[in-house]
Symmetry: C2
Subunit: 286 residues, 2 copies
Amino acid sequence: MSKFPSYIQEVDGELWLTEDERDNMKLSYRVKDIIFAEQSPFQHVMILDTYDFGRTLVLDGVVQTTSVDGYIYNEMISHIPMTLHPNPKTVLIIGGGDCGVAKEVTKYDQVEHIDMVEIDKFVVDVSLKYLPEVSGNLSDERVNFIYTDGVKFVQELENKYDVIIIDSSDPVGPAEQLFSEEFYQNLHKALKPDGVMVCQSQSPAFHMDVTKQTYQRINNLFPITSIYTAVVPTYPGGLWSFTLGSKKYEPKNLGEKWQDKSTKYVNQGIVESCFVLPEFMKNNLK
Amino acid sequence: MSKFPSYIQEVDGELWLTEDERDNMKLSYRVKDIIFAEQSPFQHVMILDTYDFGRTLVLDGVVQTTSVDGYIYNEMISHIPMTLHPNPKTVLIIGGGDCGVAKEVTKYDQVEHIDMVEIDKFVVDVSLKYLPEVSGNLSDERVNFIYTDGVKFVQELENKYDVIIIDSSDPVGPAEQLFSEEFYQNLHKALKPDGVMVCQSQSPAFHMDVTKQTYQRINNLFPITSIYTAVVPTYPGGLWSFTLGSKKYEPKNLGEKWQDKSTKYVNQGIVESCFVLPEFMKNNLK
């Protein structure tokens, strides 16, 4: 039996994590140290110290967020809907166990209440303990941690939130239902009449089918639907998409509404230009 | 002795190319077929058929361009300077052996003459033969192929080109001088009084030091210097930077100047917004 977790390989005295979620392209990270590795009731959870990306959260062998570039995803999925809504007081986060999204949302003083619904308490605990660069040692009385299945949580809600952020993992296995039509219908119902939702909608370079399907499903429910992108170096292909559904507010001239939140990726220009899509994406969405 | 080139590994009956140019992060591509593999006088040249990216040009084991995403880099390094200059008649391309940049530049009717200076004729020949998705079977009387060292070629030139495009490989080994101060001085001299140059300036995610140094060197010579980015899935980190030096024209409101060139990545919105940099890049350039 190996002395390392099954997702880690020892090669010529070096430790490597190789993601094998994709059939035909693999990303490998050289590992300095295994900080934590244990099976939760839902998945295999690791915190690795990697050479290029520092401390890294790995679930079932797949990199979720890193100390070095995790802020890009967390800032982009948070600040775009929070800037679009003129007065977000109640916010729901589904997933987001690394606490990075909650950390960004607490930067808004007008926010009164944040429900953070994560199925795996384990992920929250290890992120708070071992991943302060991402979780920011989140400690804010407005954040209400609820450890349950997000799909079930939203079934009976009505007219409750200003902003909903779906920070899910990939649409395989447990997270699959977080991309379903029924789930989006429940989110629509859970939002107030001027509410805004956003979800990550995968890599347009590798999964334009998922990006397109997500866009179409949200577009069937919301009068205003838009896709925006960001570049996340540790996600395969780099380019990542987010889909926004809005009941009232149009994402126009967002740059004018942007207020500095001590961010490292997002700024006025990014907020303004992130909805510009390359030609191949525009063509694929037609 | 293996029956495969040294850069290809056979793992459980599957063929894989693993780039090993980086110490702590690796990208691996599953290979369907080895179309071509030979040592040129300058480097080891392969054309692989890969599962995710189709036919792929590999030099010394490093992916240079692919049939699936090669257009992104080639369009971005070509159309931004070509749109910025109001009347580009003479163009110099240094490097660019896959012919993709020359293909994009020939889309401009006003161009009268293109000097394409590539050190390795081998790369041009195999790209034209085996990589039509990138090279576009380039056959245009305005393109003048010159097989020599680009660094030497520009030493004695003066006041000759409207646009110069440096499509180099990474700044290690033979391409190192293509990032030197002396080289940029010669480019400045080779440009007409309203000339524009652009070079690829590496991944800001992994080599912000190179991006910054390139920016500073060009900024020392040109009154107008700007960085723009694009997302190339097969380049590590996805995010890629280009640095533009301009003697006269400012890259403002480029969207208004953009004219459709049957591109797959570039469009009016991209031309307009590609100069918007994430906050970490802006901070690093200070």
